[in-house]
Protein backbone atom coordinates (compact mmCIF):
# COMPACT_ATOMS: atom_id res chain seq x y z
CA UNK A 1 0.00 0.00 0.00
CA UNK A 2 1.28 3.45 -0.81
CA UNK A 3 -0.08 5.10 2.32
CA UNK A 4 2.35 6.22 4.94
CA UNK A 5 2.93 3.85 7.79
CA UNK A 6 0.75 5.34 10.51
CA UNK A 7 -2.17 5.73 8.13
CA UNK A 8 -2.04 2.20 6.81
CA UNK A 9 -1.71 0.94 10.36
CA UNK A 10 -4.86 2.79 11.33
CA UNK A 11 -6.75 1.42 8.35
CA UNK A 12 -5.54 -2.02 9.32
CA UNK A 13 -6.94 -1.48 12.79
CA UNK A 14 -10.31 -0.37 11.35
CA UNK A 15 -10.49 -3.50 9.24
CA UNK A 16 -9.37 -5.61 12.16
CA UNK A 17 -12.16 -4.37 14.41
CA UNK A 18 -14.85 -4.65 11.75
CA UNK A 19 -13.77 -8.14 10.77
CA UNK A 20 -13.68 -9.20 14.41
CA UNK A 21 -17.26 -8.09 14.94
CA UNK A 22 -18.32 -9.72 11.68
CA UNK A 23 -16.87 -13.01 12.87
CA UNK A 24 -18.79 -12.75 16.08
CA UNK A 25 -22.11 -11.94 14.40
CA UNK A 26 -21.81 -14.62 11.74
CA UNK A 27 -21.11 -17.41 14.21
CA UNK A 28 -23.39 -16.44 17.05
CA UNK A 29 -26.34 -18.65 16.15
CA UNK A 30 -24.67 -21.79 14.93
CA UNK A 31 -26.49 -25.02 15.87
CA UNK A 32 -24.47 -27.35 18.05
CA UNK A 33 -24.34 -30.12 15.45
CA UNK A 34 -22.18 -27.90 13.27
CA UNK A 35 -19.64 -26.93 15.95
CA UNK A 36 -17.00 -29.38 14.86
CA UNK A 37 -17.24 -28.79 11.09
CA UNK A 38 -17.27 -25.05 11.73
CA UNK A 39 -14.14 -25.31 13.82
CA UNK A 40 -12.51 -27.35 11.12
CA UNK A 41 -13.70 -24.93 8.45
CA UNK A 42 -12.35 -21.89 10.19
CA UNK A 43 -9.14 -23.80 10.75
CA UNK A 44 -8.73 -24.21 7.02
CA UNK A 45 -9.52 -20.55 6.47
CA UNK A 46 -6.58 -19.38 8.50
CA UNK A 47 -4.38 -21.42 6.26
CA UNK A 48 -4.40 -17.89 4.75
CA UNK A 49 -1.16 -17.53 6.67
CA UNK A 50 0.30 -19.15 3.56
CA UNK A 51 0.00 -15.70 1.95
CA UNK A 52 2.28 -14.33 4.67
CA UNK A 53 4.72 -17.16 4.12
CA UNK A 54 4.71 -16.47 0.37
CA UNK A 55 5.64 -12.87 1.14
CA UNK A 56 8.44 -14.15 3.35
CA UNK A 57 9.68 -16.44 0.60
CA UNK A 58 9.78 -13.95 -2.24
CA UNK A 59 11.21 -11.23 -0.04
CA UNK A 60 13.96 -13.46 1.31
CA UNK A 61 17.47 -12.35 0.46
CA UNK A 62 19.36 -15.21 2.08
CA UNK A 63 19.25 -18.98 1.73
CA UNK A 64 18.11 -19.23 5.34
CA UNK A 65 15.30 -16.76 4.70
CA UNK A 66 14.23 -18.77 1.67
CA UNK A 67 14.24 -21.96 3.69
CA UNK A 68 12.14 -20.37 6.43
CA UNK A 69 9.68 -19.03 3.89
CA UNK A 70 9.55 -22.33 2.02
CA UNK A 71 8.74 -24.29 5.20
CA UNK A 72 6.11 -21.67 6.03
CA UNK A 73 4.50 -22.08 2.60
CA UNK A 74 4.47 -25.87 2.91
CA UNK A 75 2.88 -25.71 6.38
CA UNK A 76 0.30 -23.13 5.36
CA UNK A 77 -0.66 -24.93 2.16
CA UNK A 78 -0.85 -28.22 4.05
CA UNK A 79 -3.24 -26.68 6.51
CA UNK A 80 -5.38 -25.09 3.81
CA UNK A 81 -5.74 -28.16 1.62
CA UNK A 82 -5.97 -30.67 4.44
CA UNK A 83 -8.44 -28.56 6.40
CA UNK A 84 -10.67 -28.22 3.38
CA UNK A 85 -10.76 -31.95 2.71
CA UNK A 86 -11.41 -32.79 6.37
CA UNK A 87 -14.24 -30.29 6.61
CA UNK A 88 -15.77 -31.60 3.42
CA UNK A 89 -15.61 -35.17 4.70
CA UNK A 90 -17.27 -34.17 7.96
CA UNK A 91 -20.02 -32.33 6.13
CA UNK A 92 -20.54 -35.23 3.76
CA UNK A 93 -21.77 -37.19 6.77
CA UNK A 94 -24.70 -34.81 7.09
CA UNK A 95 -25.51 -34.80 3.41
CA UNK A 96 -28.73 -36.79 2.95
CA UNK A 97 -30.92 -34.98 5.45
CA UNK A 98 -30.57 -31.54 6.87
CA UNK A 99 -29.42 -32.42 10.35
CA UNK A 100 -29.63 -36.17 10.92
CA UNK A 101 -26.30 -37.91 11.34
CA UNK A 102 -25.82 -40.44 8.62
CA UNK A 103 -22.69 -42.55 8.37
CA UNK A 104 -23.03 -43.57 4.77
CA UNK A 105 -19.57 -42.53 3.72
Amino acid sequence: MELDLSMSWLIGLYLFMLAAFTGYEVIRRVPSILHTPLMSGSNFIHGIVVVGAMHALFNADTALGQLIGFIGVVLGAGNAAGGYVVTDRMLAMFKPSQSGKNDKE
Partner: protein, 283 residues
Protein backbone atom coordinates in the same frame (compact mmCIF):
# COMPACT_ATOMS: atom_id res chain seq x y z
CA UNK B 1 -0.86 -6.43 -11.36
CA UNK B 2 -1.02 -3.13 -9.55
CA UNK B 3 -1.22 -2.99 -5.79
CA UNK B 4 -4.72 -1.59 -5.81
CA UNK B 5 -6.01 -4.45 -7.95
CA UNK B 6 -4.32 -6.85 -5.53
CA UNK B 7 -5.91 -5.09 -2.56
CA UNK B 8 -9.28 -5.39 -4.26
CA UNK B 9 -8.82 -9.10 -4.85
CA UNK B 10 -7.80 -9.57 -1.23
CA UNK B 11 -11.05 -7.87 -0.31
CA UNK B 12 -12.94 -10.32 -2.53
CA UNK B 13 -11.30 -13.25 -0.80
CA UNK B 14 -12.08 -11.69 2.59
CA UNK B 15 -15.76 -11.45 1.64
CA UNK B 16 -15.69 -15.06 0.43
CA UNK B 17 -14.31 -16.13 3.80
CA UNK B 18 -17.11 -14.33 5.61
CA UNK B 19 -19.64 -16.04 3.34
CA UNK B 20 -17.88 -19.34 4.00
CA UNK B 21 -18.31 -18.96 7.77
CA UNK B 22 -21.90 -17.88 7.24
CA UNK B 23 -22.56 -20.93 5.09
CA UNK B 24 -20.85 -23.23 7.53
CA UNK B 25 -23.12 -22.11 10.33
CA UNK B 26 -26.24 -23.53 8.63
CA UNK B 27 -26.69 -27.25 7.98
CA UNK B 28 -28.14 -26.82 4.49
CA UNK B 29 -25.49 -24.48 3.17
CA UNK B 30 -22.45 -25.83 4.97
CA UNK B 31 -20.78 -27.62 2.08
CA UNK B 32 -21.23 -24.67 -0.21
CA UNK B 33 -19.75 -22.52 2.53
CA UNK B 34 -16.70 -24.71 2.65
CA UNK B 35 -16.33 -24.45 -1.11
CA UNK B 36 -16.58 -20.65 -0.97
CA UNK B 37 -13.78 -20.67 1.58
CA UNK B 38 -11.59 -22.68 -0.79
CA UNK B 39 -12.39 -20.23 -3.57
CA UNK B 40 -11.36 -17.32 -1.34
CA UNK B 41 -8.14 -19.11 -0.50
CA UNK B 42 -7.38 -19.76 -4.17
CA UNK B 43 -7.96 -16.10 -5.05
CA UNK B 44 -5.69 -14.93 -2.22
CA UNK B 45 -2.90 -17.32 -3.21
CA UNK B 46 -3.07 -16.57 -6.93
CA UNK B 47 -3.17 -12.83 -6.24
CA UNK B 48 -0.06 -13.05 -4.10
CA UNK B 49 1.68 -15.14 -6.74
CA UNK B 50 0.85 -12.73 -9.56
CA UNK B 51 1.87 -9.79 -7.39
CA UNK B 52 5.29 -11.38 -6.96
CA UNK B 53 5.57 -12.04 -10.70
CA UNK B 54 6.88 -15.15 -12.40
CA UNK B 55 10.18 -13.43 -13.18
CA UNK B 56 11.03 -13.65 -9.55
CA UNK B 57 13.51 -16.32 -8.42
CA UNK B 58 11.44 -17.63 -5.54
CA UNK B 59 8.42 -18.18 -7.80
CA UNK B 60 9.19 -21.82 -8.53
CA UNK B 61 9.91 -22.46 -4.88
CA UNK B 62 6.52 -21.07 -3.91
CA UNK B 63 4.71 -23.24 -6.45
CA UNK B 64 6.63 -26.30 -5.31
CA UNK B 65 5.94 -25.45 -1.66
CA UNK B 66 2.22 -25.07 -2.25
CA UNK B 67 2.00 -28.25 -4.28
CA UNK B 68 4.00 -30.20 -1.72
CA UNK B 69 2.20 -28.90 1.37
CA UNK B 70 -1.21 -28.99 -0.26
CA UNK B 71 -0.66 -32.49 -1.61
CA UNK B 72 0.53 -33.92 1.69
CA UNK B 73 -2.25 -32.18 3.61
CA UNK B 74 -4.95 -33.38 1.24
CA UNK B 75 -3.70 -36.98 1.19
CA UNK B 76 -3.48 -37.17 5.00
CA UNK B 77 -6.93 -35.65 5.34
CA UNK B 78 -8.39 -38.12 2.80
CA UNK B 79 -6.86 -41.21 4.38
CA UNK B 80 -7.41 -40.48 8.04
CA UNK B 81 -10.21 -42.45 9.70
CA UNK B 82 -13.28 -40.45 10.62
CA UNK B 83 -12.71 -41.02 14.33
CA UNK B 84 -9.32 -39.32 14.20
CA UNK B 85 -10.72 -36.02 12.89
CA UNK B 86 -10.45 -33.93 16.07
CA UNK B 87 -6.76 -34.64 16.53
CA UNK B 88 -6.14 -33.97 12.86
CA UNK B 89 -7.69 -30.53 13.23
CA UNK B 90 -5.47 -29.95 16.27
CA UNK B 91 -2.43 -31.00 14.25
CA UNK B 92 -3.38 -28.56 11.47
CA UNK B 93 -3.56 -25.76 14.03
CA UNK B 94 -0.02 -26.41 15.11
CA UNK B 95 1.07 -25.94 11.47
CA UNK B 96 -0.50 -22.49 11.35
CA UNK B 97 1.14 -21.51 14.64
CA UNK B 98 4.55 -22.59 13.42
CA UNK B 99 4.08 -20.86 10.06
CA UNK B 100 3.24 -17.60 11.87
CA UNK B 101 6.44 -17.83 13.92
CA UNK B 102 8.47 -18.52 10.77
CA UNK B 103 7.02 -15.56 8.88
CA UNK B 104 7.78 -13.25 11.82
CA UNK B 105 11.34 -14.59 11.98
CA UNK B 106 11.77 -13.98 8.26
CA UNK B 107 10.55 -10.39 8.67
CA UNK B 108 12.95 -9.85 11.57
CA UNK B 109 15.96 -11.01 9.57
CA UNK B 110 15.10 -9.16 6.35
CA UNK B 111 13.14 -6.06 7.44
CA UNK B 112 13.98 -3.97 4.37
CA UNK B 113 12.34 -6.51 2.11
CA UNK B 114 9.15 -6.22 4.14
CA UNK B 115 9.27 -2.42 4.23
CA UNK B 116 9.25 -2.23 8.01
CA UNK B 117 12.61 -0.51 8.49
CA UNK B 118 16.23 -1.55 8.25
CA UNK B 119 18.22 -4.22 10.04
CA UNK B 120 18.77 -2.83 13.53
CA UNK B 121 16.22 -0.08 12.85
CA UNK B 122 12.86 -1.78 12.54
CA UNK B 123 9.92 0.50 13.44
CA UNK B 124 8.83 -0.06 17.04
CA UNK B 125 5.26 -0.54 15.89
CA UNK B 126 6.21 -3.33 13.52
CA UNK B 127 8.24 -4.99 16.26
CA UNK B 128 5.26 -4.96 18.63
CA UNK B 129 2.99 -6.51 16.01
CA UNK B 130 5.63 -9.04 15.09
CA UNK B 131 6.28 -9.99 18.71
CA UNK B 132 2.59 -10.47 19.44
CA UNK B 133 2.08 -12.55 16.32
CA UNK B 134 5.10 -14.65 17.20
CA UNK B 135 4.12 -15.21 20.83
CA UNK B 136 0.56 -16.18 19.96
CA UNK B 137 1.80 -18.38 17.13
CA UNK B 138 4.24 -20.20 19.38
CA UNK B 139 1.61 -20.76 22.08
CA UNK B 140 -0.69 -22.15 19.39
CA UNK B 141 2.05 -24.41 18.07
CA UNK B 142 2.93 -26.25 21.29
CA UNK B 143 -0.60 -26.01 22.69
CA UNK B 144 -1.97 -27.72 19.59
CA UNK B 145 0.68 -30.42 19.74
CA UNK B 146 -0.33 -31.22 23.33
CA UNK B 147 -4.00 -31.20 22.31
CA UNK B 148 -3.16 -33.53 19.44
CA UNK B 149 -1.23 -35.93 21.70
CA UNK B 150 -4.05 -36.01 24.23
CA UNK B 151 -6.79 -36.54 21.64
CA UNK B 152 -4.77 -39.19 19.87
CA UNK B 153 -4.28 -41.09 23.11
CA UNK B 154 -0.49 -40.81 22.87
CA UNK B 155 -0.60 -38.87 26.07
CA UNK B 156 -2.92 -39.47 28.98
CA UNK B 157 -6.14 -37.47 28.71
CA UNK B 158 -5.97 -36.88 32.43
CA UNK B 159 -5.22 -33.34 33.52
CA UNK B 160 -1.60 -32.95 34.53
CA UNK B 161 -1.44 -30.65 37.52
CA UNK B 162 1.85 -29.03 38.30
CA UNK B 163 2.19 -27.54 41.75
CA UNK B 164 1.89 -23.75 41.65
CA UNK B 165 0.93 -23.90 37.97
CA UNK B 166 -0.91 -20.60 38.13
CA UNK B 167 2.11 -18.88 39.63
CA UNK B 168 4.30 -20.43 36.93
CA UNK B 169 1.92 -19.39 34.15
CA UNK B 170 1.62 -15.86 35.44
CA UNK B 171 5.40 -15.72 35.81
CA UNK B 172 5.82 -16.85 32.20
CA UNK B 173 3.23 -14.37 30.98
CA UNK B 174 4.92 -11.49 32.80
CA UNK B 175 8.34 -12.49 31.48
CA UNK B 176 6.80 -12.71 28.00
CA UNK B 177 5.53 -9.14 28.26
CA UNK B 178 8.91 -7.95 29.59
CA UNK B 179 10.74 -9.76 26.81
CA UNK B 180 8.47 -8.22 24.17
CA UNK B 181 9.29 -4.82 25.68
CA UNK B 182 13.02 -5.54 25.56
CA UNK B 183 12.67 -6.78 21.98
CA UNK B 184 10.96 -3.57 20.91
CA UNK B 185 13.71 -1.46 22.47
CA UNK B 186 16.77 -3.48 21.47
CA UNK B 187 15.60 -5.45 18.40
CA UNK B 188 17.89 -8.20 19.61
CA UNK B 189 17.52 -11.44 17.66
CA UNK B 190 18.40 -13.37 20.80
CA UNK B 191 15.49 -11.78 22.66
CA UNK B 192 13.21 -12.67 19.75
CA UNK B 193 14.06 -16.34 20.15
CA UNK B 194 13.64 -16.02 23.93
CA UNK B 195 10.11 -14.74 23.28
CA UNK B 196 9.52 -17.78 21.08
CA UNK B 197 10.93 -20.10 23.75
CA UNK B 198 8.86 -18.68 26.60
CA UNK B 199 5.72 -18.74 24.46
CA UNK B 200 6.38 -22.36 23.49
CA UNK B 201 6.68 -23.30 27.17
CA UNK B 202 3.52 -21.36 27.97
CA UNK B 203 1.63 -23.24 25.25
CA UNK B 204 2.55 -26.58 26.83
CA UNK B 205 1.76 -25.47 30.37
CA UNK B 206 -1.58 -23.94 29.42
CA UNK B 207 -2.87 -27.13 27.83
CA UNK B 208 -1.50 -29.98 29.97
CA UNK B 209 -3.82 -29.29 32.94
CA UNK B 210 -6.89 -29.57 30.72
CA UNK B 211 -8.77 -32.83 30.75
CA UNK B 212 -9.63 -34.82 27.63
CA UNK B 213 -13.32 -33.97 27.86
CA UNK B 214 -12.61 -30.28 27.44
CA UNK B 215 -10.30 -30.79 24.46
CA UNK B 216 -12.79 -29.79 21.73
CA UNK B 217 -13.17 -26.41 23.41
CA UNK B 218 -9.40 -26.10 23.66
CA UNK B 219 -8.96 -26.91 19.98
CA UNK B 220 -11.52 -24.26 19.15
CA UNK B 221 -9.74 -21.78 21.41
CA UNK B 222 -6.39 -22.54 19.76
CA UNK B 223 -8.17 -22.00 16.46
CA UNK B 224 -9.02 -18.53 17.67
CA UNK B 225 -5.44 -17.92 18.87
CA UNK B 226 -3.96 -18.81 15.52
CA UNK B 227 -6.44 -16.41 13.92
CA UNK B 228 -5.09 -13.59 16.10
CA UNK B 229 -1.54 -14.67 15.26
CA UNK B 230 -2.34 -14.44 11.55
CA UNK B 231 -3.80 -10.96 12.08
CA UNK B 232 -0.63 -9.90 13.93
CA UNK B 233 1.48 -11.10 11.02
CA UNK B 234 -0.89 -9.25 8.69
CA UNK B 235 -0.16 -5.98 10.48
CA UNK B 236 3.59 -6.61 10.20
CA UNK B 237 3.37 -7.31 6.49
CA UNK B 238 0.75 -4.65 5.83
CA UNK B 239 -1.30 -7.39 4.21
CA UNK B 240 -5.03 -6.69 4.32
CA UNK B 241 -6.07 -10.27 3.51
CA UNK B 242 -4.27 -11.54 6.59
CA UNK B 243 -5.66 -8.82 8.86
CA UNK B 244 -9.26 -9.37 7.78
CA UNK B 245 -9.12 -13.14 7.79
CA UNK B 246 -7.15 -13.34 11.03
CA UNK B 247 -9.58 -11.11 12.90
CA UNK B 248 -12.55 -12.94 11.41
CA UNK B 249 -11.31 -16.37 12.44
CA UNK B 250 -10.00 -15.10 15.76
CA UNK B 251 -13.30 -13.67 16.89
CA UNK B 252 -15.47 -16.41 15.45
CA UNK B 253 -13.22 -19.02 17.08
CA UNK B 254 -13.51 -17.27 20.43
CA UNK B 255 -17.28 -17.04 20.30
CA UNK B 256 -17.53 -20.62 19.06
CA UNK B 257 -15.50 -21.84 22.05
CA UNK B 258 -17.80 -19.92 24.31
CA UNK B 259 -20.91 -21.44 22.72
CA UNK B 260 -19.38 -24.92 22.96
CA UNK B 261 -18.64 -24.38 26.65
CA UNK B 262 -22.18 -23.32 27.29
CA UNK B 263 -23.46 -26.33 25.36
CA UNK B 264 -21.36 -28.62 27.54
CA UNK B 265 -22.32 -26.73 30.67
CA UNK B 266 -18.73 -25.90 31.47
CA UNK B 267 -17.32 -22.66 32.72
CA UNK B 268 -15.56 -20.87 29.89
CA UNK B 269 -13.09 -19.18 32.21
CA UNK B 270 -12.02 -22.38 33.88
CA UNK B 271 -11.40 -24.11 30.57
CA UNK B 272 -9.34 -21.24 29.22
CA UNK B 273 -7.29 -20.74 32.35
CA UNK B 274 -6.19 -24.33 32.10
CA UNK B 275 -7.82 -26.50 34.70
CA UNK B 276 -8.69 -23.68 37.00
CA UNK B 277 -11.85 -25.51 37.98
CA UNK B 278 -10.28 -28.89 37.37
CA UNK B 279 -11.80 -30.39 40.50
CA UNK B 280 -15.05 -30.53 38.54
CA UNK B 281 -13.44 -31.63 35.28
CA UNK B 282 -14.35 -35.03 33.94
CA UNK B 283 -11.01 -36.30 32.79
Amino acid sequence: MSESVAAFLYLVSGVLFIMALRGLSHPTTSRRGNLLGMLGMAIAIVTTLVLAGPSFGGFALIVVGIALGGGIGAVIAKRIPMTAMPQLVAAFHSLVGLAAVLVAAAALYAPTAFGIGTLGGIHAQALVEMAIGTAVGAVTFTGSIIAFLKLDGRMSGKPIMLPNRHAINIGLLVSLVVLVGVLVITESHLVFWLVVLVALALGVLLIIPIGGADMPVVVSMLNSYSGWAAAGIGFTLGNLALIITGALVGSSGAILSYIMCKGMNRSFISVILGGFGADTASA
